[in-house]
């Protein structure tokens, strides 16, 4: 396969065949980046409710306490944690630190991420 980036490569993101574990790390970072960017825009718009006074803000907070929004918030937390921890690995390996152990770092990061996401999941849905 050619290594030059092209629009065809976009569709290969969704093809799970023959993919290395490092490639999964890269894809997770890209997908979570897109999700977090969308959330960031929505978050800025939502904060605009603050300028409309207490009633508008409290009405919005009541809306986001809906379980559907809570699931969405958990997805945002999951994306942030995965992107952040995987990003640290990418940052370190970019400077040549721990390149030999990058697969181990990816697995370790995934385990830590899973622990944090489960903690927030229990906390948000009343388990803690």
């Amino acid at each position: 396969m050619k290594s030059t980036p092209s629009s065809k490569n976009f569709y290969q993101w969704f093809d799970p065949r023959g993919r290395s574990i490092s490639s999964w790390g890269f894809i997770i970072n890209r997908i979570t980046a897109l999700g977090l960017s969308l959330y960031f825009i929505l978050h800025l718009i939502m904060l605009g409710q603050l300028t409309q006074g207490q009633q508008a803000y409290d009405g919005f907070i009541a809306l986001v306490k809906n379980p559907i929004f809570a699931v969405g918030e958990l997805l945002v937390i999951a994306a942030g944690v995965l992107h952040g921890i995987n990003g640290v690995r990418i940052g370190l390996t970019s400077f040549g630190i721990g390149v030999r152990y990058q697969v181990m770092m990816l697995i370790f990061g995934a385990v830590i991420s899973a622990g944090i996401i489960i903690f927030f999941g229990f906390r948000m849905f009343g388990g803690v």
Binding site: S37, T51, I61
Partner: protein
């Protein structure tokens, strides 16, 4: 068969380094943001009065302003990297660069205005 997807793109080293640096700063600032807004706050969300009171603190204003700036820089450079993966034409890259700078500038002005407006509501 290994995937051909690779992090290589046409991003220059300086922009890549700025993105990495901003990512590192976000990691630290996000921990503080998460603890204050979602762990300390009852039910995981601050009330209106709590938010206004929180933004009265000048240190918080500076911290949230830095957070906004670093998130914008990191997010927009990251979106540019993803777009470059698709190997767009120079003309599209030209529009993309200007579009991202325009969006980033507007979002920055809006975010700073929001910070100042909320802090003055108390």
């Amino acid at each position: 068969m290994q995937s051909s997807i690779s992090p290589k793109n046409h991003e220059n080293a300086l922009l890549w380094f700025i993105k990495l640096l901003a990512g590192g700063l976000i990691f630290g600032l996000l921990v503080v943001h998460f603890i204050v807004n979602h762990l300390i706050a009852p039910g995981g969300l601050l009330t209106f009065n709590d938010v206004v009171q929180y933004f009265q603190n000048p240190f918080v204003l500076i911290m949230e302003g830095c957070f906004l700036t670093t998130v914008l820089v990191h997010a927009l450079l990251g979106l540019r990297s993803i777009a470059l993966d698709l190997n767009p034409s120079p003309k599209i890259i030209w529009y993309l660069n200007r579009g991202l700078v325009l969006f980033g500038s507007l979002a920055f002005v809006y975010g700073i205005w929001l910070l100042i407006k909320v802090s003055s509501m108390g």
